[in-house]
Amino acid sequence: MKTRQGTVAVELTVNGEKRVAAAEPRMLLTDFLRHGLGLTGTHVGCEQGVCGACTVLVDGQPARACLTFAVQVEGGCVDTVEGMAEPGALSDVQQAFRAEHGLQCGFCTPGMLASTEALLQENPDPTDDEIREYLSGNVCRCTGYQGIIAAVRRVANERKAASRDA
């Protein structure tokens, strides 16, 4: 049995890189990423699992970083918005959000992007209803959702076209 008391070192693979930082068992993955590793792209909204701003991928699956203790996913892989593209560049999902006005203030965007990646992984060609259903756990308070849904639609279409051409 592994027992963790006080402050311990927690190792995770974050965006493909092995990272270690000190954490108490009670440290949420949001705070581990932001304060422990300086990755402030993961946003903290409600801190009770409702808003979805802190959504990241844990071992490829979407997860609320505010409802996960860092120590729980010790040794696992976490992907955040910082790892979606090289610095200065945008991923296809990020580009589509920009093109379709899928963001204004940007607070919900890192979570929206993570959920979008997970959705398209699971279902590369979702209907608008499926997109709405999947993103229902991510709350946006400024754009409304039309632009966001259009962005997801756009990436799905682009990826489909790219795989046809390949």
């Binding site: 049995m1 592994k2 027992t3 963790r4 008391q5 108490e24 068992p25 009670r26 949420l28 705070d31 801190e47 009770q48 699992g49 979805g52 959504t55 844990v58 699956q61 979407p62 997860a63 609320r64 505010c66 409802l67 996960t68 203790f69 120590v71 729980q72 993570a114 959920s115 997970a118 959705l119 259903e133 999947y134 229902s136 756990g137 991510n138």
Partner: protein
């Protein structure tokens, strides 16, 4: 807010987990944490130790031959995506689409949702409708408890402090008509009122057995015997009977008001949702949806 401090224990077996629970009287079991962690973030729960069973592979299995056996730490997403569950226990699959969101179902567990004992959550009522039973293992051995006897009240079940829910077993439900519905403010929220029904009919479409389970209306999920008795012997899909069963659904129950809705609203909502799911069950049988 941030959760209070606790010691974190990660046992390597179910036996070790039970030992750890027995050795730490104020401990809680941590599986997916999707209900426990928000309560800790808001400091509504302050366990001094968490026993993380999330990595115990032998609690994660899903077997669907004859009955359905779901290990306590199978995630809600695992069960939702399981082909045989979708085919033979569509009531479970349908209910799971209402449990949180993809990003909580990927970590939230089937067993956790049951053991947590939230009265407005979907799976406990579904377990009642499907006549499930649960295997509990603790320091003094193993016992089997029927869903009917498992839930006591708000966040309270018959689980002892050193006991772990290890498996839910659900009898074969193929051939039954079923319905599931809830009234919520937003998709993925806890229900203001909801119903899960399983109905068996004879060759002529007359109801032989009806199980009507309600959630969100009381301190624990409940079966409505009044609605069930009204339904037996009638034709599934009869609109007047469905309306009446809805009206009867909450009779004898103490329905609570809360900060969201009044008891009167909740009663209306429950009546409507029972009526709807009964008609849905019949329409599904006729291949209309």
């Amino acid at each position: 807010m941030k959760p209070p401090t606790f010691d974190y224990l990660r046992p390597d077996s179910v036996a070790e987990a039970i030992e750890a629970l027995a050795a730490h009287p104020d401990s809680k079991v941590l599986a997916g944490g999707q209900s426990l962690i928000p309560m800790m973030n808001m400091r509504l729960a302050r366990p001094t130790a968490l026993v993380d069973i999330g990595r115990l592979a032998d609690l994660r299995g899903i077997e669907a031959n004859g009955s359905l056996r779901v290990g306590a730490t199978a995630t809600q997403a695992d069960v939702l995506g399981h082909e045989a569950v979708g085919r033979r226990w569509p009531l479970i699959t349908s209910a799971l689409t209402h449990v949180g969101h993809p990003a909580t179902r990927s970590r939230g567990t089937f067993g956790g949702s049951i053991a947590h004992g939230e009265p407005a959550s979907e799976l406990p009522a579904v377990m009642l409708a499907l006549d499930a039973h649960f295997t509990l293992r603790g320091s003094s051995g193993e016992r089997v408890v029927h869903a009917q006897d498992f839930f006591l009240g708000h966040y309270t079940t018959v689980l002892a402090e050193d006991e772990l829910l290890v498996q839910a077993e659900i009898p074969d439900a193929s051939g039954s008509a079923w319905g599931f519905g809830e009234i919520v403010r937003r998709h993925g929220d806890y229900a203001l009122a909801g119903a899960a029904v399983r109905v068996d009919t004879d060759g002529a479409g007359r109801i032989e057995e009806a199980r009507v389970a309600l959630f969100g209306v009381s301190g624990r999920p409940v079966r409505s015997t009044a609605a069930e008795e009204r339904l037996v012997g009638t034709r599934l899909g009869d609109r007047d009977t469905a309306v009446e069963a809805g009206r009867l659904a909450l009779s004898g129950l103490d329905v609570a008001s809360d900060s969201f809705v009044s008891a009167t609203y909740r009663q209306e909502a429950a009546a409507t949702v029972v009526e709807r799911v009964l008609l849905d069950a019949a329409a599904r049988g006729r291949g209309e949806n």
